[in-house]
């Protein structure tokens, strides 16, 4: 009897062992396949960027000579000459211009979107439903349809060839996406602390400043980062509104350098391309947690 049980257990054990082994083998095959696909796709995705950085240190004669990314004779002449540009200004000027657009835009966005999201998430008022619907509609409204009259409006205001058209609309909570994202964040935050503060006599803007903003900080960092990226990458806005070279941001300056030197000076173009993506790359790697969280929470364009 005892033997019988023992052998049955043994058989069960062996059976379980076999199943477990088969399972492990399947898992191994599955994991290998997954890693294989991911590595291959990752290489295809990233190699162009690696090549770009490597090629920016090559000489012009070497750029199209092979598919490798390591230069035979590394040179920084692309950077030196590219930085000088064919204009009276260096690339430093164009970075400074970009900075002058990005910073007011980020500050304006954060302040206006926080206030508006707070209004939507914490108050009841006449017309709230209609206004929230308008927010969603703005989110889906293609810019292409408002661009021409906006241009005419800024022309009448005398703002053409200045940075104002590039950041003022954002300072009026013009990027509906960010408002929407912050409203979603706020709705997930319990109101207990705010209500306690109100009972203690704080008014609503004190509550906003001292309770809501600290709780919202991670979301606000996400907002800043996305606005930074999108503004760095924006090309059509500056193309339409800026005409003097001394006001060009890096995106326009790069286009200008293509037009003036591309026929032969490839490494200058590549070197300046690398420089213009560097700020975005560095910010992304330093703060990628906020990107992934922001994009997963609200869902993002891009």
């Amino acid at each position: 009897m005892a033997n019988h049980i023992l052998s049955e257990n043994l058989a069960l054990d062996q059976e379980a062992d076999r199943i477990l082994k088969a399972q492990r083998r399947r898992q191994f095959v599955s994991a290998t396949l997954r890693y294989g696909v991911l590595t291959l796709v990752g290489l295809i995705m990233l190699y162009p960027l690696i090549w770009l950085i490597g090629a920016s240190f090559k000489s012009n004669s070497e750029i199209f000579a092979g598919a490798g990314f390591i230069p035979n004779e590394a040179t920084i002449s692309g950077y030196v000459q590219g930085w000088q540009t064919s204009t009276p200004y260096t690339f430093g000027r164009f970075f400074w211009n970009t900075f002058l657009i990005v910073v007011p835009k980020m500050i304006g966005t954060v302040i206006s979107c926080t206030a508006v999201a707070y209004g939507f998430a914490r108050f009841d008022f006449p017309g709230k439903k209609v206004l929230f619907a308008s927010l969603i509609a703005t989110l889906l409204l293609p810019n292409v349809v408002t661009r021409i009259p906006q241009y005419l409006l800024f022309r009448d205001l005398g703002w053409l060839d200045s940075f104002l058209p590039l950041w003022v609309p954002s300072a009026f909570a013009g990027d509906a996406f960010f408002v929407f994202m912050l409203v979603q964040f706020l709705r997930a935050i319990p109101r207990d602390m705010e209500e306690a503060a109100r009972v203690d006599g704080a008014n609503t803007w004190q509550v906003l400043l001292f309770i809501v903003v600290p709780l919202l900080t991670p979301a606000l960092i996400s907002v800043c980062l996305f606005q930074f990226m999108w503004t760095m990458n924006d090309f059509l806005g500056p193309l339409i509104y800026l005409s003097s070279v001394d006001k060009f941001p890096v995106s326009l300056a790069l286009k200008l350098s293509i037009d003036t030197t591309e026929a032969f000076e490839w490494n200058r173009i590549l070197a300046m391309s690398v420089l213009t993506i560097m700020p975005a790359l560095i910010v992304f790697f330093v703060a990628q947690k906020y990107f992934i969280e922001g994009i997963s929470a609200g869902g993002v364009k891009g």
Binding site: L38, G42, M45, L46, L49, W51, A55, A67, S112, V116, G119, F120, F123, D124, F125, G127, S134, L135, L140, P142, N143, V144, V145, R147, I148, P149, L152, L153, P169, A171, F172, A173, G174, T204, W230, M232, N233, F235, L236, L239, I240, K255, I258, I269, L270, M272, S273, V274, T276, I277, A280, F284, F285, Q288, F291, I292, I295, S296, G299, G302
Partner: protein
Amino acid sequence: MSGDNRFLGLFYLSPYIIGLLVFTALPFAASFYLSFTDYNLMSSPVFTGLDNYWKLFTGDRTFRKSLWVTLVYVFTTVPLKLAFALFIAVILNYKLKFINFFRTAFYVPSILGGSIAIAVMWRYLFADVGIVNMGLATLGFEPVNWFGDPTNALFTITLLRLWQFGSAMVIFLAALQSIDKSLYEAASIDGAGKFATFWHITMPLITPVIFFNLIMQMVQAFQEFNGPYIITQGGPLKSTYLLPLYIYEEAFRRFDMGYASAIAWVLFVIIMVLTLIAFWSSRHWVYYAGDKRS
């Protein structure tokens, strides 16, 4: 908050309301009006009724070509990009080491993708003697004339979009990771295979995210500008001359603001109709947890 002035919320909304009126609603209405006018910036707009639209649909071959190219571009790019993003997200959604590393690697192109620098890079990659053709030669293929051939040129622009699948993928991945694991256990006890589990459990649960990505990607794809402007300048033979390029050139090169507004409105109506179709159809295929079917 109760007890407050019932207009207090509107005070906090005031930047938005002003911005909405001045920078969105007013331009929106103005653009509709302008589309019925002849306006070259020098004199004031002259109302010409349906002339612009008549010309667009009967006499303007560039418009017809541009519209066709835009539709081909959107209807190839968006499904390919979503399918690829979902495919990679499903592979990533597994107890893998380095999942964060891969997620980051796949997301980087989305961060940079819209920039001019990347469009410049694309020109070099797909040049006749660029590394893409070198790679093809190594594999034994003939070099491809990426920018000279109309079909290839549009495909090259499409590839630039596909390369930026990361943001859609991150959203898919977040949705996949939020699915309750007990559902999979239940399915496996019931003997469901992998494919059945994916089709009957995973897919329904992520339809809201598919819907969201679909709308966002579509609205953006219809407005693609940087890629074709920098890489191909709309050519060859207008094969990459997407409507946003045409609108830009009519408005800001030829200063034909009325005509450009009419094109913009046609594009807007197309986007709106497709969005409405998506919303309308969503009730048949988008599953929201908590509604009566659950």
